[in-house]
Amino acid sequence: MHTFGYRANALLTFAITALAFICAIASFSDKFSNQNPSAEIQILNINRFKKQSHGNDEVSLTLDISADLQSLFTWNTKQVFVFVAAEYETPKNSLNQVSLWDAIIPAKEDAKFRIQVSNKYRFIDQGQNLRGKEFNLTLHWHVMPKTGKMFADKIVMPGYSLPDAYR
């Protein structure tokens, strides 16, 4: 502690250690928040359902997505990444997950929403298995904190199905 440099070094090290400590506690405090998100998805229309030139099925749909993810936001949340995936089974793959739409929610006010949108990403199967296929639509979310570990969860909504013939 006999020179400026020595004291400055000691102060800086201690300050950064204490900062790491309060960030860890801030991240831990997230565990005490009560989270009850909800969501609902309706398929408004199947716009196109055809077989591509190289043999795979492709669907284009319009979705009505409504969700209330406001309870996921805490003081330590930077943003929430949300996406909708269609999940189904085929003889070739026991689980297919195709991402149809995603969004980034930057603040709590934007977390309660309802939109009608056609799928942002193409719904293409590996094969021709989609006729009459029953599938689940799952809403996944990833909560990205300002400090700490990211965690993810989902809501599974079963009971959707595609028509039996191409349109």
């Binding site: 502690m1 006999h2 400026f4 004291r7 400055a8 000691a10 102060l11 201690f14 300050a15 204490a18 900062l19 400590f21 309060i22 506690i25 801030a26 405090s29 805490t74 003081w75 330590n76 300002k146």
Partner: protein
């Protein structure tokens, strides 16, 4: 700074930083604002820097008593003998 001053400066630094961290967390959690927590903590760090790093006079209240140069001349330094330098090299 003298020895007492150094000890005081170190203790003061640790206590002030701890208080700044605790205050920052409590206020930040209460207002649910991460930004507030960071700002309060940064303010606390700057305040601690201003208090403990410069050579304030309050840290020099027990100055060391150096020997007066006229006294030192009365007792000449002992001559360096060859044996002592050999001892040093074997220690290394």
């Amino acid at each position: 700074m003298d020895w007492q001053g150094q000890k005081l400066a170190e203790q003061l630094m640790q206590i002030l930083l701890l208080i700044a961290a605790v205050m920052a967390f409590v206020v930040g959690y209460a207002t649910a604002s991460f930004r507030t927590m960071m700002l309060i903590y940064a303010g606390g760090v700057v305040l601690t820097t201003l208090i403990t790093i410069p050579n304030w006079p309050c840290f020099n209240r027990h100055p060391l008593k150096w020997l007066d140069p006229s006294e030192a001349e009365k007792y000449p330094k002992p001559e360096v003998v060859a044996v002592s330098s050999k001892k040093k090299s074997s220690k290394k």
